[in-house]
């Protein structure tokens, strides 16, 4: 395969990583927590969409319903589980989200079993371009389009709306925000709900490329975490660019670096994550925290 094709494929997979990474950024920006269960929550949302599709609901309707349901469930998870650990030790919140990951994984296996399922693509088959110029599938184009819509919407939400300012204020200082009259609890619920909805979209975009399985998002979560760290956990646009970069680099490394190949591709985001944490922990697009001494 030629170089351009590798880059285009990398952008496609990078877009999926970016969508889940945006969900991570959303939770972090609105509640200050990194949700390690984000991928697994996306998996259960995708299974819900598959169940609806299997029952005869059109694929876009099934995906839409799963997204709305995920918004509600994400909010409830924050209210009844995460709320108890917010504002406490960061380690406790991490352990809880890891526990949630394992629990949801078990729940998915219990309800739907572990046999792989085929999830339909929301986009038509085929693609544009051919020959030596490379081909980009409608699925990849649709994924990139959906991602751009999400990132622009989130960027607008956080930078240009009162709700976005309220999210940022609550994530940075819940007590001060409460003293300003902001409904901190409801904002935290909404942050988790929105993240779960974006995660559900990520799951429904990735499922047609792979098979639907309880572990479907495990590797995607690794890439998404790397993208969020590389882009700076507070920058939606930075996260998307980082995810595309990771998608392209892992594809090129897998093809052109002999010892990486197909099996070692997962090492690429891990190495990038270690490097960025060592040399620019706030991320390439993140803002350094200012502290007056």
């Amino acid at each position: 395969m030629n170089l351009l094709q590798q880059v285009l494929d990398g952008l496609g997979s990078g877009s999926v990583y970016a969508t889940l990474a945006l969900a991570l950024v959303l939770v972090h920006r609105s509640t200050g927590i990194v949700n390690f269960a984000q991928g697994q929550m996306a998996v259960i949302s995708t299974y819900v969409a598959w169940t609806l599709y299997d029952a005869g609901v059109p694929v876009w309707g099934a995906i839409g319903a799963a997204i709305v349901l995920s918004l509600v469930v994400g909010a409830l998870v924050e209210r009844f589980l995460i709320r108890r650990f917010e504002g406490g030790e960061p380690l406790a919140a991490i352990v809880v989200t890891v526990g949630l990951l394992i629990s949801v994984n078990g729940l998915v296996s219990l309800i739907w079993g572990t046999v792989l399922k085929q999830f339909p693509s929301a986009f038509p088959p085929g693609g544009v371009g051919s020959g030596s110029g490379g081909t980009i599938g409608y699925g990849t184009l649709g994924t990139i389009g959906a991602l751009l819509v999400v990132v622009l919407a989130l960027n607008w939400l956080f930078r240009h709306t009162r709700l976005g300012l309220a999210f940022r204020a609550v994530a940075a200082n819940p007590e001060s925000s409460a003293l300003l009259g902001l409904p901190v609890g409801r904002l935290l619920m909404l942050g988790w709900g929105l993240a779960a909805a974006v995660g559900a979209l990520a799951g429904c975009l990735v499922a047609p490329k792979l098979y639907l399985a309880p572990e479907m998002m495990d590797s995607v979560l690794t890439y998404a975490l790397a993208a969020a760290v590389l882009g700076g956990l507070n920058s939606a646009l930075g996260t998307v660019l980082a995810a595309w970069f990771i998608g392209v680099v892992e594809n090129l490394a897998g093809t052109y670096v002999s010892f990486v190949g197909g099996d070692m591709k997962i090492a690429v985001p891990l190495v990038l994550m270690v490097l960025i944490l060592l040399f620019k922990p706030e991320g390439v697009f993140g803002h350094k925290e200012v502290r007056r001494v």
């Binding site: 009162r162 204020a169 200082n173 007590e175 001060s176 409460a178 003293l179 300003l180 502290r291 007056r292």
Partner: protein, 235 residues
């Protein structure tokens, strides 16, 4: 402006009771100074009013009991500038000010208030896009007060505004208090270690000792009290 009244308030942290039967009346449009040694319960009194600490007894605004949740208290028109200012360091100065007005819908009036506050505190206009955490202590205190005013409160609770500030900056802030009260229609309850300065601008004063009110009166009466002169005014 509003009246604020505490009747028989008890409050504490877990099993540690800090306030014991505290009753304070803050009159409509007055500046009342809350004095006391470290650990006397001054900050806890403000936190109890704001709902940050659970309390029993009655806390009334204009004769009506206030809710227990901090956001609901704020929506009632009670602004609390906490010790250490409580500005949101990661947000810009401008966003901090806008965050103060998030509950308001009167956009034209919000813009007018922003302009007034930038005239009152020019540094907040000059450093509008700077991160709040990068401001000096005095600038952060100005931002904290300005942000509280952006919510158009009727009652302003100020906790140790002089903490960590140079004496000159502290004096400027206190001299400004009567003006803020008049121009923004405020009733002010201020906790302050610098008793001399606080009493010089206050109308009334309350002295707390070990969580109990031991003296109350006009600022002049309290500053003329022998015990207060010895304990807080150094003469």
């Amino acid at each position: 402006m509003s009246t604020l009244e505490l009747r028989g308030v008890h409050a504490g942290y877990g099993k540690a009771q800090v306030l014991h039967d505290v009753s304070i009346h803050v009159g409509d449009g007055s500046i009342t100074t809350l004095l006391g040694a470290n650990g006397a319960g001054k900050t806890t009194t403000l936190r109890a009013i704001s709902g940050l600490v659970r309390s029993t007894g009655e806390i009334l605004v204009d004769g009506r009991p206030i809710p227990s949740a901090p956001d609901a208290v704020a929506r009632l028109g009670v602004a609390h500038v906490p010790q250490g200012r409580g500005t949101i360091g990661q947000l810009s100065v401008e966003d901090n000010l806008k965050a103060g007005a998030l509950l308001r819908r009167d956009r034209a009036q919000i813009r007018a208030d922003l302009r007034r506050l930038r005239e009152l505190f020019p540094v907040l206009g000059e450093r509008a896009q700077s991160q709040a955490a990068g401001l000096s202590g005095g600038e952060q205190q100005m931002l904290a007060i300005a942000r509280a005013l952006m919510g158009r409160p009727s009652i302003l609770l100020l906790d140790e505004p002089s903490l960590g500030l140079a004496p000159l900056v502290t004096k400027e802030l206190f001299v400004l208090l009567p003006r803020l009260r008049d121009e923004w229609g405020l009733t002010v309850l201020v906790v302050e270690q610098n008793a001399d300065l606080a009493l010089s601008v206050g109308d009334h004063a309350v002295v707390l000792e070990s969580g109990r009110v031991v003296l109350t009166g006009t600022a002049r009466e309290v500053s003329g009290h022998d015990e207060v002169r010895r304990a807080y005014l150094g003469n």
